[in-house]
Amino acid sequence: MTIQAVNISKSYRTKAGQKTVFENLNVTIKSGESIAILGRNGAGKSTLLRILSGIEQPDSGRVISDEKISWPVGTSSGFQGSLTARENVRFVAKIYGKSRDVNSIVQQVQEFADIGDSFDAPFRGYSSGMKARVAFGLSMAIDFSVYIMDEITAFGDADFRNKAAEAISKRQERASFLMVSHDLWGLRLHCDHAFVLEKGALTRFDSIKEAIKCHTDTLGVVNKHDVNQGMSRTEVREQRRLLSIRNKSMTKLEPEVREASN
């Protein structure tokens, strides 16, 4: 057994009141398993990953694990924008690795990321593809028993995806994987089992095909419901207009927003 979550519940306080993400979930991940978590946006997948990786506590219930678990590997979380990739990588390598391994970890990440001189430029200027390369490369350079991946393969080009696929299958011989991705094809390639997280309940599927079918079915229902139900043509047009205004103002705001989030 690698990770076992018993009866975990999580809710957040929002302005609209208490919002329950999930209640009394039970998850068991055995060593050597590769598991995909499917569910639509906002279903609580990332929250579940954070709890399983141990960086966030559930409101109730316990997470039992005796293995070295990675942080939820995403595009930029955990990186300091004003530091370079090299400095960020050194920091994480120092914390997780032995001190004599730090240099070799940095070198491995540099080789994997393959972003040239940018490796020594501040992280905040990177594109999401470059961030994904560094973040993914870093997690692969450290020896974990369980790797937790949050949407990491969604960014980046074909070259990066091929490299990532290769690195994952190499690691799968010894380690477990837990992945969230909307790249369904990629999941099919890497995972043996899948969980679908929907309305706070987790369903386990032994075949990833079935899970993807269930997931796309619910998505299909949701989409139909959102777009068509009880809306007249003018209402749809009005909504589109509002959306386009919002999008425009978002693009105008974007540079500042980016600055602030760094």
């Binding site: 957040y12 306080r13 929002t14 990786s53 141990g54 960086i55 966030e56 506590q57 678990i69 942080w71 939820p72 979380s77 955990g78 990186f79 300091q80 004003s82 530091l83 370079t84 400095e87 920091f91 994480v92 120092k94 914390i95 997780y96 001190s99 501040p122």
Partner: protein, 263 residues
């Protein structure tokens, strides 16, 4: 025992990495940035010295050179108060760090306090050294007491920064209260006055402040003739230990709330 040693070693590793990271961030990655980090506290001393020089023309307070008198005050008070104010924003600024499970909020508080303490100690040594050279006189009567007082002040700073870190997380509105509360703490810390020069009936208004006791004792350690009135080292030690115990108790009972992102 082995397990304890291992987690202790891990924590040391995390803290030292955090210090390097913080130093890198502050110096802006420049080689000269290290001077920028040091120059800020020195400018504060210079500023006070200028004001002090304008107000009164005394060459010495209680027999201690004015530069050193102010230096001890500024260094001690700024270390203790700056760290608690920085901690208000520390949790948000460091939220990226808590992605890595070995990094606990208390590590960031310890790393920050150690780094500040090293910066201010370096500033002190530079300014003290130049003053001694300028006066052609080594002004240091009790080095051990000076070091002990500085260590005590580090512990006090750590306690204050853990307390303010916990306060801002448990009661978010205290973010705006803490800077206001730190004002009287700074003003009564004896940065620009000596407790002995305050009339005895006004002394209770400043004597509650442990930083004042630490500052006055440090001055006394520099120059044994410096008068210490109503100042007791045991008061500073007991207050610091009580605050330290309080901060640890609060941290261990509510640390789960601290490491979580604001929802």
């Amino acid at each position: 025992m082995n397990r304890f040693a291992n987690s202790f070693r891990l924590q040391l590793k995390v803290i030292s990495s955090l210090i390097f990271r913080e130093l890198r961030t502050r110096s802006g990655g420049l080689k000269l940035g290290i001077f920028a980090v040091l120059i800020e506290p020195l400018l504060v001393v210079a500023f006070f010295l200028l004001i002090f020089g304008i107000i009164k023309q005394h060459a010495a307070v209680g027999g201690l050179n004015t530069i050193l008198f102010l230096l001890v005050g500024v260094i001690n008070a700024t270390l203790a108060i700056q760290s608690s104010i920085r901690s208000i924003r520390a949790l948000d600024a460091n939220s990226a760090l808590f992605f890595y499970r070995p990094v606990k909020p208390i590590d960031t508080a310890i790393a920050r306090t150690l780094l500040e303490a090293m910066i201010y100690a370096t500033c002190f040594l530079i300014a003290w050294g130049f003053t001694c050279i300028y006066l052609d006189n080594l002004i240091l009567d009790d080095p051990l007491a000076l070091i002990l007082m500085y260590l005590l002040n580090m512990l006090l700073s750590l306690s204050l920064s853990i307390l303010s870190m916990m306060a801002t997380r448990i009661l978010p509105w205290s973010k705006s209260i803490i800077p206001a509360l730190s004002r009287p703490l700074y003003l009564s810390a004896g940065v620009f006055f000596s407790a002995a020069y305050i009339p005895a009936n006004w002394r209770p208004f400043v004597i509650w402040n442990p930083i004042l006791h630490i500052t006055e004792f440090s001055r006394h350690a520099l120059y044994a003739g410096y008068p210490i009135a109503d100042v007791s080292a045991s008061y500073a030690i007991v207050t610091t230990l009580v605050l330290f115990g309080l901060s640890l108790a609060l941290y261990s009972s509510a640390s789960a709330a601290v490491s979580q992102p604001e929802g």
